[in-house]
Symmetry: C2
Subunit: 377 residues, 2 copies
């Protein structure tokens, strides 16, 4: 698995009471930053990552040596302009890139905690990350943003800390995980748990890991991140070898070898138990239910400006579910903007070079920051 | 696996040249019939089953003791009215309900053939089933129909035997399997092949079978058979145990236990290798390519009347792909009707009690039969 020696982290000393009832303390929270915090400390953006992401949102991830997952959006002159903003991103608890999670080594046994790790929620994740504000002595964040599970964290963060953020930009997300999305996550979990190497989650660090199960889970997820039209345009029925069918179960079609590749590279950087815990947190997410069926109440104590973004071909977190957030905000007269970006790239649109999206995000961040903060100079 | 002693079959003696180049002969083709063939032998309907179906389309399947897969559509007074029509349904070659397939026992080794079975196509399937016309001495079928892979067989059958059918009713299908559908089938295959019990497809009849992998494949498929809206309405976020989250990886949500159940009951009646072979045949299906990109040519030698049916919430074989068939037929001035049925039950609509669908199918079959045949009396 990942060599975590190059990772920055804070040790969260304060006890954190989890939704499951357990309490954790003195745990590591791994993070990365991009850009510089200004003197007034009013230019910080906290970015939340999605299911398979980590704190390395931009530049080169020093552990995997691959590009950060939001490299197209974070950097000098980009949507989250690091010449202007100080971007912070933390690995969620339950993750496997240095934050406290199932692959953390228990010093008492010298083995990874595995499924002895407590089941966590999106609420637990944002409560853990709130400690970064203390660490950086930031009184108020300029913005919180993130797509997919990152967007869920945006919503939960504003609900928990209504006066700590100027601008919230949830992208391609939902306030309440749907039955279809629970089903798809359950499929991934079942694939992992069906792998004989899983061993009830107590596979050792140097033993055979449930890689096959995790690869299946990733393949399943990957199909859902793309749209039917996008897949057809990109792959169609293109064959691996010109016009010849192999009449076997090898990869005949390009889409097959693409998926196999996606599965096999994922297992090199991700822990199967983390996949179980994080998907579970997503499935448990129901901000509407936290407020007895009235989503507006989640935001009524906050003056945060909202900007909600969805994508036309995203069938996992469709525009209708993003619009429900807008409706709840409008119902309390909140300051909320909304845009549905035209894209055939499906849910993955928020991670890809979709110019309309990246420009919209940049313009909103730049102009809002200038409007809210520079006037005060 | 299934006790096949109660099954009717014909032995196909004539050699059948498969698309892969191999030739098979003297192989069993299992079938079932409902209703009576009339004296003129003009009332026969050949029904083609889908991926997980078999010849037991109506009544009680004597092997599984469960209802036939199209019991809602076939029977006295039903859409395919067995007081009037003689319905024939065969298990496809590659299947596991008595037709020649990977679970057939090789008399030389006394073991199942497994992955020594040749890779087959939809074309091979319908060529095998054509032998039923000789067996029943039927000169011309009144109709061929089927949903999903059954619909693909309808299209291929008309293309191969343009003068053998009066009416063709392909339902919820496509003329060319899409990239997304190939991807979803590949996911199922990978889940089966990742199961350590699969053993390159040479698991013995009395050994441990790749049940876990097959169950994952079935779960994945089942999600795709339903619509997002349908899942939300049926399951939403309903919990197994009232209002209590378990904070574990047990089934918390009803959708989770539903999926687990679907997976576990499937492995009792279906063979994992058959799942590989039949999904492969679906993926290879591209009738348009068989005619050099001009689907119309598949039908130009036929005078068969067509009636194409799709469902609004079917995202696996959406209306657009069904409409492509209609367009190809219109382009050669064929006699073709088309209806898109409003339903929130997704691709599964063709198997379920969707009154608009069942009534439409009944009215079409009854009135067309009366118009085409009874006048001659």
């Amino acid at each position: 698995m990942n060599d975590l020696s190059k990772i920055k982290n804070i040790i969260v000393k304060n006890p954190l009471k989890l939704d499951c009832g357990k309490e954790i303390s003195n745990f590591p929270l791994a993070y990365e930053t991009y850009g510089k915090l200004n003197e007034k400390k009013d230019n910080a953006i906290l970015v939340f990552h999605a299911l398979s992401g980590d704190q390395y949102a931009s530049g080169i991830n020093p552990v995997t040596n691959k590009e950060g997952w939001w490299n197209c959006a974070i950097g000098p002159g980009k949507s989250l302009d690091t010449d202007k903003f100080f971007v912070i991103c933390a690995n969620v608890i339950g993750g496997c890139m240095g934050s406290y999670g199932p692959s953390t080594i228990d010093p008492n046994t010298n083995k990874s905690i595995g499924t002895n790790f407590p089941v966590i929620t999106i609420n637990d994740m944002v409560n853990a990350q709130y400690n970064l504000l203390d660490f950086f002595k930031i009184e108020k964040l300029f913005a919180v943003t993130g797509g997919s599970m990152g967007g869920m964290q945006v919503l939960q963060f504003i609900s928990n800390f209504p006066n700590k953020v100027q601008v919230a930009v949830p992208i391609a997300c939902t306030a309440s995980h749907s039955a279809q999305n629970i089903a798809l996550n359950e499929l991934g979990r079942q694939a992992i748990m069906a792998d004989t190497n899983w061993k009830n989650g107590l596979y050792g660090e140097n033993e055979n890991n449930p890689d096959k199960g995790l690869a299946i889970a990733r393949m399943a997820a990957h199909i859902t991140y793309l749209s039917k039209v996008g897949l057809q345009e990109k792959f169609g029925r293109k064959l691996q070898e010109k016009d010849k069918l192999k009449f076997s179960f090898d990869a005949d079609f390009q889409i097959e070898s693409y998926l196999r590749h996606q599965g096999s590279v994922f297992v090199d950087r991700f822990d199967a138990n983390s996949y179980l815990y994080i998907t579970r947190a997503m499935d448990y997410f129901d901000l509407t239910k936290q407020f007895d069926g009235n989503l507006s109440k989640a935001f009524e104590k906050s003056k945060t400006k909202f900007f909600v973004i969805s994508f036309t071909s995203d069938w996992l977190y469709p525009t209708s579910e993003n619009r429900d957030i807008v409706i709840a905000l409008n119902a309390i007269g909140a300051d909320v903007g909304f845009v549905e970006i035209e894209s055939d790239k499906g849910h993955d649109s928020f991670l890809l070079d979709v110019p309309d999206f990246l420009n919209t995000l940049k313009n909103y961040m730049d102009s809002t920051y200038s409007h809210l903060n520079e006037k005060r100079i």
